[in-house]
Amino acid sequence: APQPATYADSSAQDYLMQFGYLPESDRETGNLRTDDQLINAIKNLQSYSGIPVTGHIDEATKKLMKAKRCGLPDKLDPRFSRTRHRR
């Protein structure tokens, strides 16, 4: 498979999987990813964290990925989540 044009090294992809932005099943099954999948995952991370949404692993995203954080995923299995309530 062609390498995704979007640069995201394995540690970045691991981060996206670890915190729920890419399917965690990929860890086991090694599914091939398209550029779109990766870009969407990065955009979701940027949107969730409140940094500019570029779809690329820019400086702000790199900084975010190095920041101290909780080990739980941000995007959880929706089967176990109840309705999201926003104010």
Partner: protein, 504 residues
Amino acid sequence: FTVHGQKWPHRNLTWSLRTEQPRGLEPGGVRHQLSRALDLWAKNSKLTFQEVNSDRADILVYFQQGYHGDGYPFDGRGQILAHAFFPGTDRGGDAHFDEEEIWLLTDSSDEEGTSLYAVAAHEFGHSLGLAHSSVRGALMYPWYQGLSTNYELPEDDRHGIQQMYGAPEERLWGNIPGGGTQPERPPAAAPSTTTSSTTTITTTTYRPWRTRPTRPTRPTRPNHYPEERPRRPDRYPVKPDYRTERPDYRPQRPHKPHRHHTTPSTTAAIATTSVATSPTTMGYRPRHRSTPSPRDGIPDKCDTSYDAISIIRREVFIFKGRYLWRIGDQGLYEGYPAEIIRLFNLPEDIDHVDAVYERPDKKIVFFIGNKYFLFNGNILEPGYPRPLTDLGLPRSLEKVDGAMVWGHNGRTYFFSGTMYWRFDESENYVELDYPRDMTMFAGVGYNIDAVFQWKDGKTYFFKGKGFWEFDDLRMKVAHEKQKLSAPVWMGCPRKLETPDLETN
């Protein structure tokens, strides 16, 4: 905010710091910070928190490092600070802090250290049922932000906790919309580690300078609920014991002759040619032994769990206690179950196997306790058994629950308790970044009995007398409720009077 899954069924929760001496920290100070963090949630809800000295508390707090047995390893000093489990059984509610971080027992943080209070307040949000929030400034925002002095719970988190457990003022007026359904836990016998005063201690009345033995505590019942199994998350529970399922089962060695269909000459041929022979002549037939077995004490094929299942030479072998069944293209073979030791040259005193799988090189691996046996055909390879540690499995592992070559990716997996490992057959060692938590195989749960990939290419997990088909692509069970094993795998009739697991 996002509410995740279950909430606690009662509002008076107990907690306990289970790491006696967190590295470089004064335990009293740690407990004080944890107490303050819980107080933040108590002030904004109907919840109360009582510290107890018991590993049966609702929320157990640990300081741990690296791999610590739950599939979510810490990364040393730096990025991942802590994690906690949502309300539920076993580890539900527990909070784990990375012991290698520099924890500060103050509200402020600096370049070097991190405020334990700030992180604990966030993690306890998970313990109570809140997931992460994308609202910057919210306590449940995943990235560490630190907390100011006299910190008040942000609006986003307050709405979240009050949706689940009600607002504190509602406690005074008895008007309990939404959160008013959780009862107080009734007083019961105190755990032996607590005193038996009748004073309720919540975090709001906690005095860190008072020592634990003199601090009055309201008696609490052990915090496991009748329908749940006792919490001991760090142990690997043993499989259901066939000896208790069959009270008449006698594990002693046999004395009476056992009827079978094999002759010594065919057995000898099997031993030398079985690897290469076709399935129909593969020759795994009961072999003669000097002390054959009795027919009594044989597990009932229609009413039993399984210890291990594997496809060996394209036939299904089902193991239970000292016996096995063999299923070919025409169904269950006659003359079975047979004693395992009649087919495989295992020690005579074995009373079960834990897991079995056929390696890609066609050799067969048996896991029994903390050892594994390697067979070429039915001949034990020289130098075996060997310890599980040779495969890279931890010394503390008491047994392997299941082993399989996963058809989805051709990799070998080992399962034990709450964890699983991927195994590199070329290196003969488990792969880096393992173990992981069994929740990856969604819907299967922990402590499986057996797993294998059947001829249809699908994966099946077994536990108790039932099984799940697994959807490899969606990484979850194809049906959430178990199906009964006996009608499907042993061709047993469905008994109308026996409630099917599918509907139970």
